[in-house]
Amino acid sequence: MTVMTHAEALVAAIRECMDEDENVALVWGSLMGVGGNNDHVEHIKADFADRIFHPPISEAAIAAIATGAAMDGVRTIFPMGTASFMFRAWDQIIHEAGAAHYMSNGAVSIPAVFHVVHGLRGGGSVQHSQSPQSMLWNAPGIEIAMPSCPADAKGLMRTAIKSNNPTVFIDHQKLNKRSGEVPAGAYDIPFGVADIKRVGADVTIVATSLQVVHALEAAETLSAVGIEAEIVDLRSLVPLDEEAILTSVGKTGRLLVVDEAPPRCSVASEVVATVAEKGMDLLKAPPVRLNRLPVHVPANVALEDFVGPNTDRIVEAAKTLCG
């Protein structure tokens, strides 16, 4: 085990995959939103200059170029920056990358990775704070990964690069500088395998990305008042580990889903619907969705906090659910 930041773990995965496979290419924008931490990515720049492409501000064209190259086996990693910007490449990701395998009757596959940074980042305002995961989940043909810690970020990024499907890899700005233990050596974490980040018998909290961090913090507070929460970190939405969710709800009988997308047709909605269809009899109480409020994200940080799910709100919701 070594301790790495989330950003360092992503870079380590990219480095390994570029070493392993000469067909891996990288579009070098503001890499993974690592910002001022660029010193630890210089080695990639130095060693793989011929596989790195510097981007203009052209999300749509680059997404389609990555898709077209993928049809000939080039695995392009395209860090698009703030998730809000990916809407400019919506057509290319959904109709080209996401549809090519289906449209070709399986003849063509699209091993491309679109990396974005979602969510409430502290003053991002309306046009820099999107959480597009639920919108993407409504589009067939795209894998969606959402790590919550450095170890998962590394293993999931390796899987994303090796996958023969287009993957949208959704990170969170507030995760980038967080540190955690990362296993030594190269390892892949398969998509579709949720991770139980904390074991508990009273309430199941399903979360993704930064909200897993918030849920773990909330679980400590809840434990002090006698409520033991089980935290299910989905890690990928496509494929979805339904079994892990149902198994945990079978144990606790209570479901709280935390999600940074607004509530209608959200990740929380889909998880609750899945449990309603396949595990209604497991529930002791109506399930609860804890989402960002159904409004745009104001620039004011106090209001941003107010519209988002957070640790206090998770505590409050879990207490009410268990009350």
Binding site: H54, G122, S125, L293, A299, N300
Partner: protein
């Protein structure tokens, strides 16, 4: 020579400069967080463009919007309050530095998405044509916007549909090192010749020194009159030397708080940024022009500076004392009510 007009342009330029210095100070004091963009070095273009626009005209800006808003006549105290995300801000604190807008002065929406505002300005031209309002749409945007496809689409449409729009591309890449070479410029175009794109569409195009307020004023006044008369779009490329404080990811006040006396006291100019002070800083350049042409004397320049400095000082106090918006305000205006 219209003395009052030129002095008004200068007053707006120094007002923008003092405003941006205040914004920088607020950020240094951590009164607001996150990324932001200053208009220092481009004041001549914004102030001169606004001098020819009237109440029926609509202007759309970008993430680098402060100067355009101030030149158009937004009250600096509400603009500064918006940057601090306060309740008295132009957008009630929900927009912030990226999205300052004020429909009451014909700047209804500011997109921070690169190229995002360019078609919106064409939409204003579309509405003006339809309503025969006599107004025009004006798009103020940077050269980086040419990296986005929607800008080409908009230029094509403005020509096809004969929309009364002026596209003002403030090219602030001159003097900057391309990103691909390790710099932090605006655009990554292999050639800096953005003007060739509207030229290829057969649009009337002009190039101007964007650091020369009088040159921009003369050109823009002529263009605005013609667009109103003909309804045909015009493209202007205002070439602007990049402010050295803009070489970094975040603005840096490397040239210090502006001393207007540098316009006549050459002895006070030295050091690393000498070239900037002597030849490029548009505020100092215009002050020198006004002095040489006899439009203003030292006292006029100092007097205007003292006046706007007081305005900004009061605006800073107003912004800092403005309350935060209440949490209940987040629910307001998701959808419009019945009219």
């Amino acid at each position: 020579m219209d003395k009052a007009r030129l002095l008004d342009i200068f007053r707006h330029m120094i007002l923008i400069r003092r405003f941006e210095e205040a914004v920088y100070d607020f950020h240094e004091q951590k009164l607001f967080g996150g990324h932001y963009h200053l208009y220092i070095g481009q004041e001549a273009t914004g102030a001169a463009v606004m001098a020819s626009l009237g109440a029926e005209d609509r202007i759309f800006s970008t993430h680098r919007n402060h100067g355009h808003l101030i030149a158009r006549g937004v009250d600096p105290k509400n603009a500064l309050a918006e940057i601090l995300n306060r309740a008295d801000g132009t957008n009630g604190g929900r927009g912030g530095t990226f999205h300052i807008a004020d429909a009451s002065v014909g700047m209804p929406h500011t997109s921070a998405l690169v190229g995002g505002s360019v078609p919106l300005a064409a939409g204003a031209g579309f509405a003006a044509k339809l309503k025969k309002s006599g107004g025009i749409g004006v798009s103020m945007f940077g050269d980086g916007c040419f990296e986005e496809g929607v800008v080409f689409e908009t230029l094509n449409l403005a020509r096809m549909w004969e929309l009364p729009v002026i596209f003002v591309c403030e090219n602030n890449t001159p003097g900057a090192v391309l990103k691909s070479a390790g710099g932090n410029n605006t655009s990554n175009l292999p050639e800096g010749r953005v003007i060739q794109i509207p030229e290829a569409l057969g649009m009337e195009c002009h190039k101007v020194d964007g650091g020369d307020a009088e040159a921009v004023d003369v050109l823009f006044a002529d263009c605005a009159a013609r667009v109103r008369a003909t309804g045909q779009p015009i493209f202007i490329e205002a070439l602007t030397e990049r402010w050295p404080g803009n070489y970094f990811s975040f603005p840096s006040m490397v040239t210090g708080v502006t001393q207007v006396s540098m316009a006549w006291d050459g002895g006070s100019i030295s050091g690393e940024h000498q070239e900037w002070f002597l030849n490029h800083d548009p505020v100092l350049r215009f002050a020198r022009q006004l002095l040489v042409s006899g439009v203003a004397n030292f006292g006029d320049i100092v007097g205007i500076d003292v006046e706007v400095t007081e305005t900004i000082k009061a605006a800073k106090e107003f912004a800092q004392s403005s309350p935060l918006p209440g949490t209940d305000s987040v629910y307001a205006h998701v959808l419009a009510g019945e009219g």
